[in-house]
């Protein structure tokens, strides 16, 4: 009897091992999800988006007309954070050195000269990085009504930006095949989808390899 029970262990163990192997293979392992690097300047998205209500496209100015979303030039920052001229745009805190934040100091000290001219580029650390053999046209997605947050997460709430999505192929394909619900866009931008939104059919996209790989 005991020998019989002991004997039953062996195939059981094998089956277990097989199941574990399959599961581990299926989970999208090799993804740098949640990559949260330290940036040269700790740019507070919440302040700019939520407090000042700036639009993503103000800084990422080519996201709707180019594959490359575009990064704000130092000049763009200095448009507001200008060390000399006191303009209407200029944030109050800049004028009060005592209350001037460390990060703005960094900006002004390292990347702009006293006259308010950009001095050198800010070496931002790249977070959302697709392999070079994947061609991701931002403008197609933005113009199709995909909310930035759907892929990048609620950046307007992130004190420090991190990689929200896994960005692996299955993640892309799921949306391309099953489609993107316009209601999700509303939800992702902290809105409440109306019945009309919910009624809209999901937007599908090509799942042909050569749509992204060439």
């Amino acid at each position: 009897m005991t020998s019989r029970r002991k004997w039953a262990l062996v195939p059981g163990f094998v089956a277990l091992a097989g199941a574990v192997a399959l599961l581990s293979a299926y989970s999208g392992a090799s993804s740098s999800q949640n990559f949260t690097p330290e940036q040269p300047i700790n740019f507070p998205h919440p302040t700019h988006v939520q407090k000042l209500g700036m639009n993503c496209l103000y800084c990422h100015y080519s996201a709707n007309k180019s594959p490359d979303p575009g990064l704000p030039a130092v000049g763009t920052c200095l448009g507001c954070h200008n060390p000399i001229e006191v303009g209407p745009n200029r944030p109050k805190i800049d004028s009060i050195p005592a209350r001037q934040s460390v990060e703005i100091k960094k900006l002004l000290d390292n990347y702009a000269d006293a006259s308010g001219k950009p001095k050198k580029a800010i070496p931002w650390v790249r977070i959302h990085k697709l392999p070079e053999y994947v061609h991701f046209p931002h403008m197609r997605h933005v113009n199709a009504g995909v909310a930035c947050q759907s892929c990048h997460g609620q950046v307007q709430r992130m004190q420090r930006v991190y990689q929200f999505s896994s960005l692996n192929m299955g993640w892309c394909i799921n949306c391309h095949v099953n489609g993107y619900k316009p209601a999700d866009a509303v939800r992702n931008t902290e809105g409440y989808p109306t019945a009309a939104d919910n009624a809209l059919p999901p937007k599908k996209a090509r799942y042909d390899c050569s749509a992204c790989h060439y």
């Binding site: 005991t2 020998s3 019989r4 002991k6 004997w7 062996v10 195939p11 799942y207 390899c209």
Partner: protein, 165 residues
């Protein structure tokens, strides 16, 4: 608790088994260095159920082979060489190979299950000589039968009879 006997000769073993069976002692285990039809004949066991494992395993394998090939091809339909998405003819190869693979493995599994290997423990009633040159008979027996059994075994020329408990 029982008696294990070792025999030198094949015919002696066969006679002993026959005799024991005649005495309605059937719950014995026979050991033989190599499969002999003579012994199989006198023991006259039921046919091994291993073949069922083979059949079921092979059938499942073939089905799984066709299924995985067709399902994956249809899961992401990509046309190659102008061929249809799910082409059953080449998939027959997959079906066949998996039939053989799973069929064979389940056959082995069937053997293991039926003959209770692998054995974690060496049970009683056995002697190393049985893998060498000797035939053996092990009869788990109650003391009351013990004498009769030993007598029978010895009469048929058992080289050595041992009581175990």
């Amino acid at each position: 608790m029982g008696i294990v006997a070792a025999f030198r000769e094949l015919d002696a073993t066969v006679d002993a088994i026959e005799d024991l069976k005649r005495q309605k002692i059937t719950d014995m285990t026979v050991y033989t260095p190599t499969p002999r039809h003579e012994i199989e004949q006198v023991v006259d066991p039921p046919t091994s159920p291993v073949r069922r494992f083979t059949l079921i395993g092979g059938f499942c394998g073939a089905c799984f082979g066709y299924w995985i090939a067709i399902w994956t091809s249809d899961y992401w339909p990509l046309v190659v060489g102008g061929k249809a998405i799910a082409t059953w003819i080449p998939f027959t190869i997959i079906g066949f190979e998996l039939m053989v693979l799973i069929g064979a493995l389940s056959t082995v599994a069937g053997m293991f299950i039926n003959s209770r290997v692998p054995k974690i423990t060496m049970t009683v009633g056995w002697d190393p000589r049985f893998t060498h040159g000797h035939y053996g008979i092990w009869v788990p027996g109650t003391p009351d039968r013990a004498r009769v059994i030993e007598e029978t075994l010895r009469r048929h020329g058992a080289e050595d009879v041992r009581h175990e408990d």
